[in-house]
Amino acid sequence: MIARVKQPIPDDAAAKKLPYRVTFVAMISGAIVIALLLVLLSMYLYNRSGAAQLDLSLPGLQEQRMKAQKTERFESFSASGPLNEDALDQFNQSYTGQQSAILQDKDGFAPDELNDEPRNISAEK
C-alpha cells in the first residue's frame, strides 16, 4: 500500500494565491458592475430604438393606455392567391378602411398647438 503524502505548498505560491473570501467578494462586485453596465446599455437601446415612444405602461399614461387598447382588430390581406375581382375587392375594402382610419389623424402633431397665445406666453425681441 502506497501512502499518499500531502505535498506542502511552497511559501511563495501560497502567498500569490488570493484568499477564498477575497475572490468571492471580487466576483460579487464584478457581477454587480457588469449588471449595472448591462442595465445602462439596455436603457440606452430602449430610448434610442423608439420603443420608449411606444411604451404606454408609464403611470401617467393610464388613460392613453385604455384608449389604445380599444383599437379594433385589423383584417389583413393574404400574400398568396390569384388576383381576381374578389381579391381586388377585398384588398380595396381593407385598404380604404385602414386609410380612412389613419386619415382621421391627418392633422396630428399640428405645430399650432405649441403657439404662444394659448400658452399665455409673451416674448419681445
Binding site: 458592475v33 415612444q53 384588398f91 405649441l114
Partner: protein, 188 residues
Amino acid sequence: MHRISLVISIAALLLSGVVLLAHSVSAQSGEEGQLQPADAALYESVTMDCLDVKYKLGEIHRTDRLLRVTLGEGYDNMSSNLMDRLNSRIVQNRLDGGELVRIASEFEEAHATFRENYTEYDDAMLDLLKANCQSRTQTYYLELQETKELRRVVHEDVGTLSTLMQRYHDAFKDLRQEIERSAEEESE
C-alpha cells in the same frame, strides 16, 4: 484579507457611481440643449406662467404618445399587411406592379423618417418637461420654439405618408382597370 476585500468592494462601488454620474451628466447636458449663451439675449423679455406652460405641455405630450402609437400601428398595417402583400401577389401573378412597388418602398422610407423625427421631437419635449423654466425663462422659450419646429417636421411627415397612401391607392386603381381590361379582352 479583510482590507483587500474592503478595497475591492469600494472600488466596485466607486466605479458604479462614476458610471451613474456620467450617465446623469450626459442626460443633463442633453437637457440644456444646443443653445449658445448669446441666444438668450435674442429676446429682451419673456414672460410665461411656467407651471401652466408645463402642465399644458404635459397634456400635449400625453396626447402625442397615444397618437404616435395609433398612427404607428396604422402605418405598420398599411405597409406589412397590405402593400407588401399585394406586391407579393402581383409578382406571383406575373403582373406589372412596378409603380406600386416603388410607392411602397417610398412609404417604408417615409415611415422610417417619421419614426426618427418623432423620437427627436419626443426627446426635445421630455427635455422641456424636465427643464427648469423659472430660472432660465429665455432659454426655455427658445427651446420651446425649437421643439415647435421639430413638431412641424413630424406634422409634415404625417402629410407625406398620407400622400403616399393616396398615391398607392391611385396606382392600385390603375392596375385594377388594367386587369379588368385584359380579362375582357381575353373573354372576347
